[in-house]
Symmetry: C2
Subunit: 80 residues, 2 copies
Amino acid sequence: SLIQESPEGDKYIDLGKKKRATVRSFKGSTFVDIREFYGDTEQSMKPGKKGISLALDQWEVLRSSASAIDELFAAEQKKK
Amino acid sequence: SLIQESPEGDKYIDLGKKKRATVRSFKGSTFVDIREFYGDTEQSMKPGKKGISLALDQWEVLRSSASAIDELFAAEQKKK
């Protein structure tokens, strides 16, 4: 499975380059937190300052905009 | 189209709640920057501190993990 679990029990997807998408609940709402981590070992990884939490509705917009974002990437590559 | 353009010419998707996914190039690489903005009018919106930039390969992992993230959201909702 793509889904991994931190020592604290948080479920996340490893995006590479020490970035993770972690789904967690906070004050009764669920968020996906896309964030940089630091640390030398899997067990010692800590969340860094760079990151953002998206509520379900914002995640759904991002998810459904995937093709548009792909197009923007392609347009930027073409400029080079 | 979902794609909007800032006064600076950056192309972005409005995720709601003043969050945007902006695709831009920097030092020869292209990133999608998912970030909070602040400001009262469309013309005066400025990027805030909360956000993260994903390179194309990290974006592609996030994109292809969309179903797994949806499952994690559903699992968190069930806990309530």
